[in-house]
């Protein structure tokens, strides 16, 4: 399954890129997408995750074509 991965703010700077395209096995989770995209880098504490622009837990499963985003705590307003 092909997944579009996006990074925002401080996490984007830390990763050194805005997005990745990764292939994962069927029924993979958000955490598995991170592992595939980031290799040995563990998911930083407090990182928020979204699937198709809705907040999701790292344990949530993804489907082919999904957009998965990782970002630090939000600071708007």
């Amino acid at each position: 399954m092909s997944i579009q991965v996006r990074y925002f703010a401080a996490l984007r700077e830390r990763m050194g890129r805005e997005h990745d395209q990764v292939d994962v096995f069927p029924e993979a989770t958000v955490a598995a997408v991170w592992a595939r995209a980031a290799g040995d880098t563990p998911l930083p504490t407090n990182t928020l995750c979204a699937v198709n622009m809705e907040y999701a837990e790292p344990s949530a499963s993804v489907r082919d074509g999904d957009e998965v985003a990782f970002f630090p705590p939000v600071t708007g307003g």
Partner: protein, 145 residues
């Protein structure tokens, strides 16, 4: 219900006037609660010269719509307007405008507070400060209130 993400500077009072005038609210409302958040020139003991505000285009708008719908289901809200700045900001620039119209004051006060707190805690926006002393830093968390 209107959500606007604005890449240019805006005047919240003008926005408010224009929006209300163009709306179908007529004389149905007895209360308008307004919150305006602006950029300070200091944070965490440092002088801040400028700030860049980022968002997640698509998710930010969708999330703000969701919290407006939640407010609508909890309070007798006639209408609401959220305008949020992104891009390069200078101290004293308005960052956010939240306005709620209702028949009576309790709904307007409570719904506007709810919208503002939800926006701050969950809408995907991020601030990077440019410090007067040099260098940039990401704001790690919002103040509790």
């Amino acid at each position: 219900m209107t959500i606007v993400i604005r890449p240019q500077a805006f005047d919240p009072w003008q926005e408010l006037q224009d929006y209300q005038r163009a709306s179908k609210l007529g004389a149905s409302f007895g209360a308008t609660a307004v919150f305006v958040g602006s950029m300070r020139d200091f944070n965490e003991g440092e002088t801040v010269q400028a700030m860049r505000l980022e968002h997640y285009q698509g998710m930010t708008e969708r999330h703000l719509e969701k919290i407006c719908q939640q407010a609508q289901s909890r309070w007798d809200m006639l209408d609401c307007l959220i305008v949020h700045r992104v891009g390069e900001l200078r101290p004293s620039d308005p960052i956010v405008l939240v306005a709620v119209w209702s028949a009576h004051r309790a709904a307007a006060f409570d719904a506007s507070r709810f919208l503002m707190e939800e926006l701050k805690s969950s809408a995907p926006f991020w601030k990077k400060e440019q410090l007067a002393a040099g260098g940039g830093r990401w704001v790690e968390k919002n103040s509790p209130g």
